[in-house]
């Protein structure tokens, strides 16, 4: 089976290549041969880029099928141009047993859409007490271990978990937040939370936990990826840690690049996110850190929530936003705002994410996996529930007009999505 993508603007973030040309695909891989193809796609006027790699997308299976199903969310992924995604372990039950991971991978594979990389639970039931069987989980397909949004409170356990993971070279992904300082907070501890009467989460809930984790990285040598940074001070700590040569990387949720506490407005529960939206200064530091590479990648942090759980007073609403179909337009919006070349903009959701994930994707070169997205960067569309394939319609961007619409998504050389 061969496929020719003809006359598109080829953007390969890994090499910086940005030119009009053809891409030839043979046996699921990009080839430098020039043969007659079985199928030809006219990509004139479209950008041809590596498919997006999203380091955090909740598919809600197993356990939360009423919020979303694997089918609906895999449709959403490819409609958003996402060809690989990592899913956090906070399913029900959590991904703490090889059988669950194996089943998830089989189900995902049978759907034949995006590639799914499960992140295993670091502790049993994410309870922060007993280590999971990491070797078994890795054999079942886990590429890293994490606590999702449930930080380990006991630093003895965190230390041992990092040591154990380091023994086998497993990366650990942590979203850092001091559980006691976060308390029952639901918003950034600042002027907006004070006005709205919402319990606050201070910025130092993140930096204190991050400081602790960095000390443990120094002690154990574990490769740690820090998820969803939300503060300017957190970005600074990572910058210093990288300068020091610690084996760390980090990401930011795409919402936090564009929104701040001010977007809560009159209690918009779509802005109830974890971590909370912080000050404009924090948002600016995250957007700047993503541009200068201190922040390695941007993720959708896709979390479908059913409408009933959002139609509640702010503090009671379930946190999270749908994001798989918004990642591309929102990263493009960020790139335009920071006046970045398209290749650099896309790097944060393609080759840089591939590096963190440790997979051979995210580039366009002979021999590479033919995971590609074809999109029109100028085409605008309105974010309305009907425009989203995800079962979760919960997004702070409802009603926004965004630029960047996916036309075709290709995984392993096969077209898995074609815009109607």
């Amino acid at each position: 089976m061969t496929l020719l993508i003809k006359g598109g603007r080829i953007v390969d973030p890994a090499s910086g290549r940005d030119e009009v040309g053809d891409v030839f695909i043979s046996d699921g891989r990009i080839s430098d041969k020039k043969e007659k193809a079985d199928q030809t796609i006219d990509a004139k006027g479209l950008v041809v880029a590596p498919g997006l790699i999203d380091l955090s997308a909740r598919l809600r299976e197993p356990g939360y099928e009423y919020k979303a199903t694997l089918e609906s969310e895999m449709d959403a992924a490819v409609a958003g141009g996402v060809t690989s995604l990592a899913c956090p372990p906070d399913t029900d039950p959590p991904l703490d047993e090889p059988g669950l991971v194996d089943m998830l991978r089989r189900r995902a594979k049978a759907l034949a859409r995006a590639r799914v990389y499960p992140i295993g639970a670091l502790t049993v039931k994410l309870a922060g007490e007993r280590l999971t069987e990491m070797s078994e989980l890795a054999e079942a397909g886990c590429v890293a271990f994490s606590q999702a949004n449930v930080p380990i409170a006991d630093t003895q356990v965190l230390w041992r978990a990092l040591q154990y993971a380091a023994t086998f070279g497993f990366p650990v992904w942590l979203r850092v937040e001091d559980r006691w300082l976060a308390g029952d907070g639901v918003a950034h501890d600042g002027e907006v939370a004070t006005r709205l009467g919402l319990a606050g989460i201070p910025a130092f809930a993140e930096t204190i936990a991050l400081g602790t984790a960095l000390q443990l990285v120094r002690a154990t040598g574990t490769r740690v990826h820090f998820c969803r940074l939300s503060t300017a001070a957190g970005v600074e700590l990572i910058r210093a840690a990288k300068k020091e040569g610690l084996p760390v990387s980090c990401d930011v949720g795409i919402h936090h690049v564009h929104l701040s506490e001010l977007d809560l407005g009159y209690y918009d529960s779509h802005c109830r996110l974890e971590p909370p939206l912080r000050s404009q200064r924090d948002r600016e530091a995250l957007a700047a850190g993503l541009a200068d590479g201190t922040v390695d990648c941007a993720v959708s942090d896709h979390t479908p929530v059913d409408e009933n759980q959002k139609q509640l007073p702010f503090a009671e609403a379930e946190p999270g936003a749908t994001g798989l179909e918004l990642l591309l337009p929102l990263i493009l919006k960020w790139g335009v705002q920071r006046k970045l070349p398209l290749a650099k903009t896309l790097a944060r959701v393609t080759c840089d994410a591939a590096r963190v994930l440790g997979v051979q994707s995210g580039r366009i070169e002979p021999g590479a996996r033919a995971d590609l997205v074809l999109f029109d960067p100028q085409q605008t569309w309105r974010v309305v529930p009907a425009a989203l394939k995800s079962q979760g319609k919960n997004t702070p961007f409802l009603g926004y007009e965004l630029a960047g619409r996916v036309r075709t998504t290709i995984v392993a050389g096969s077209v898995v999505y074609q815009q109607a």
């Binding site: 501890d189 600042g190 002027e191 939370a193 004070t194 006005r195 709205l196 009467g197 919402l198 319990a199 606050g200 201070p202 001010l262 407005g265 009159y266 209690y267 009933n308 139609q311 509640l312 007073p313 702010f314 503090a315 009671e316």
Partner: protein, 316 residues
């Protein structure tokens, strides 16, 4: 930021959700209307027919006797029909959602919902989902707002001090958890009070409270100096011993209002308290019952103010 959800297309009061964001003219209109009702409560027949045939639903998701009663009296004096629903012990325990409860009551032809809820912002959610002819009055939501209490405090201050433009007002105690403090601060700054102070320990001050337009004092004596109005806040029992405060006794020592501390305020200063009081915790009995105290008149004014709010929203 979306349009102010409290105002209708003509800029009139559709719902009363918070004092924040209300123009001075509306606050003054409410206070003036309340003044015209003050006489009603002293008449032999304490009723006016302004809301005859209208239904007021008291929808209390959080227990309260005092506030609910004053709303009930106010509605009855306006000749409205009043239905009291203590939702915290009915539908919610059966798992019915907030909006389903409201939709059901709306089907029973409500005109005004008076809502109290433990979650900040709950009345905004309700206001977004009621029909155009229905009105929502916030009777206290979480730590956010208690606008009718704020208005009755403003009414009391105006009654005794006449002119807002020369006053120094101190609000003392647990500002962090207080919806009363937030509503009063917004009201005072909107009506042009030049100096609003908040007094309390750091543990009971919300982050960035200065941005509301107040001066923060941790030393009560310094904070009370030359004040015209002293507003004491209630300290909830569950906050008296723990990470925020060591004990009620120590709180009283530092922030309880005694005659001795009150002497630092102006000689004609008034002392207010939203009730219910903790005597010996935030206020000493001789002060609570003394000549500066206007705590009981506050309660009386509260009825006229709630009549004003209900009649204004129902008429818009």
């Amino acid at each position: 930021m979306p349009a102010n959800p409290q105002l209708n297309a003509n800029g009139e009061l559709q719902h009363l959700l918070s004092i924040e964001g209300l123009p001075r003219e509306i606050l003054t209109q409410i206070l003036d209307t309340a003044e015209s009702f003050a006489g009603v409560t002293e008449r032999e027949v304490k009723k006016v027919p302004l809301m005859r045939g209208k239904s007021v639903f008291n929808l209390f998701f959080e227990a309260s006797t005092r506030t609910r009663t004053t709303f009930e009296i106010a509605a009855k004096r306006l000749s409205a029909d009043v239905i009291n629903l203590n939702v915290s012990v009915s539908s919610q325990t059966k798992g019915e959602s907030l909006l389903d409860t409201v939709a059901n009551l709306s089907a029973m032809q409500a005109d005004v919902f008076v809502v109290r809820h433990a979650s900040s912002g709950a009345p905004y959610l309700i206001a977004r989902h009621v029909k155009p002819h229905e009105h929502v009055i916030n009777a206290g939501d979480g730590r956010h707002a208690h606008p009718t209490q704020g208005l009755l405090d403003l009414y009391t201050i105006r009654h005794y001090k006449k002119d807002f433009s020369r006053l120094t007002v101190a609000i003392v105690g647990d500002v962090l958890h207080s919806r009363v403090a937030r509503s009063l601060i917004h009201g005072l700054t909107t009506l042009g009070v030049p100096e609003v102070r908040v007094i309390g320990p750091q543990t009971l001050m919300p982050a960035g409270v200065e941005a509301l337009g107040v001066r923060v004092f941790h030393d009560m004596r310094a904070g009370l100096k030359d004040c015209d109005v002293v507003v004491m806040l209630r300290l909830q029992n569950e906050r008296m011993n723990g990470p925020l405060l060591p004990s009620a006794q120590e709180f009283f020592k530092n922030y309880g209002l005694t005659a001795d501390k009150l002497a630092l305020a102006k000689p004609d200063a008034i002392v207010m308290h939203p009730g219910p009081m903790n005597r010996g915790v935030e206020i000493d009995s001789p002060v609570a019952d003394g000549p500066h105290s206007v705590i009981l008149p506050q309660v009386t004014f509260g009825i006229a103010v709630r009549m004003a709010v209900m009649s204004i929203v129902a008429g818009n």
